[in-house]
Symmetry: C2
Subunit: 265 residues, 2 copies
């Protein structure tokens, strides 16, 4: 309870990450504030990854990146961000394999590193719930089900792979409303990329997600599929770079941006 | 061909209606110009019908109405419109039954009559085709299939009834695009009101439309349903007013408004 009371803004969440008092999932913290996926790469890979994001904006919506290599701030999304210590938890990848889960990468940081902040579905889920649209995975208290599709990403250097999607089932009228609402937020994945028959995008069984947990889909409901921020992490694993850092899933950077600021109309 | 060449604007189409040289369907004429459904009522019924439109804006989007009873102009949608002679063809209804189909209602017009111009799906079909979205009924050269649903309209005086919808089948990606595009045009029925299972809105068989012609729906496609301008005509028949006038289906008022002017964003 104390953590929630203190965690009213992006700044206050980051302050707790920074002083070591908070290292948990950020879902539901600092309502209204944009949370972001983080990818941190050495100069080997950074330029190609930037281009990968630009070529695949639906799964990899680039909100911000380091002003210059080695600069740990992200002024586009917050004041005084230190990306080396402002996340609750990090994953360190070596040769594409998860090597460590730590709460501070200060010791690892190098002068050629670049951080990338990518939009996250938390923003559009908040907009949907504000409009009265039920989010099944939130109702069921589980991580959203995610699936590797047969949709190829545009490749860039060592980065390639299939698009990963998240799935949320809805009534037809909520599906139409969700498309309208999410279309306002292209920087956090935007509108769904598919609805209806999962097989059309290469998903064999909704009950067997590749990541997250299966959720109930009523016979009257339509599954909606959004491009997912796990896509770049899968591409990163495939690229097998000697060293890379990401956020621990669910342990996002909480920014100073408001979700409502991301709406394009 | 001559008619198409001359019919470049709303004004030129209306001029041909007015001089008696044109009395055919207006589909495809004056590309870019808004075409409108027309309902003309004597003082008995006019106020209730206006409220019926306001209460049911999806099927009955009111674009314009007579400035005052008996005034045959519609300045909100065009210069110098004379609604008594500017349509290619009219239907005269007596006690809710079709009595006459004529090209001029000059002789019938009374000082207490009010004309209503309602938005028409031609506008959003043009926007969809401009975006590369196939409209199946246009591909097949038939009138769009329309169905009486189980969705009740909000009633007003003698006007009530179920909502009529038009159906256009699309791929999932075109369905999402169509929802985005049509959401920009609330004054011409806006976004679909349903997609997917027809039975959920009381449609037993897509192959048996209540109006128009059935179209092919591929197994991979999703049917999308829009609130339809036939709804007020059905309500009008049910109201059994002693006298009412509408346009002949497909023989619309071609206005001076551009479809693009109707976009809200």
């Amino acid at each position: 309870m104390v953590a929630v009371e203190l965690a009213e803004t992006g700044r206050s969440v980051r302050a707790q990450c920074r002083d070591g008092s908070f290292s948990s999932q950020t879902s539901g913290l600092a309502p209204g504030y944009v949370q972001a996926n983080i990818v941190i790469l050495p100069s080997e890979g950074a330029s190609d990854f930037q281009t990968f994001c630009q070529r695949n904006p639906r799964p990899c919506p680039l909100l911000a990146m380091s002003p210059s290599p080695g600069d740990p701030t992200l002024p586009e999304v917050g004041n005084d961000i230190d990306i080396r210590i402002d996340l609750p938890k990090y994953r360190v990848w070596r040769d594409g394999v998860l090597a460590e889960q730590i709460t501070d990468i200060h010791q690892l940081w190098q002068s050629d590193w670049t951080a990338f902040a990518l939009g996250c579905s938390f923003s559009f889920e908040e907009a949907l719930m504000d409009a009265g649209v039920e989010i099944r995975n939130i109702t069921e208290g589980v991580n959203v089900p995610m699936y590797v599709t047969n949709i190829p990403c545009a490749s860039s250097g060592p980065f390639s792979g299939k698009m990963v999607v998240s799935m949320r089932p809805m009534s037809a009228s909520n599906a139409i409303r969700a498309i309208q609402i999410c279309s306002r937020f292209p920087s956090v994945h935007g509108a769904p990329i598919h609805l209806g028959d999962p097989a059309q995008i290469g998903i064999a069984d909704l009950n067997k997600p590749d990541f997250g947990a299966a959720v109930y889909v009523a016979p009257s409901e339509i599954p909606l599929f959004w491009a997912c921020g796990v896509t770049p992490q899968v591409a990163l694993q495939g690229a097998k770079l000697p060293l890379a850092v990401t956020h621990e899933p669910g342990h996002m950077l909480v920014t100073d941006l408001k979700n409502t600021e991301l709406a394009i109309f």
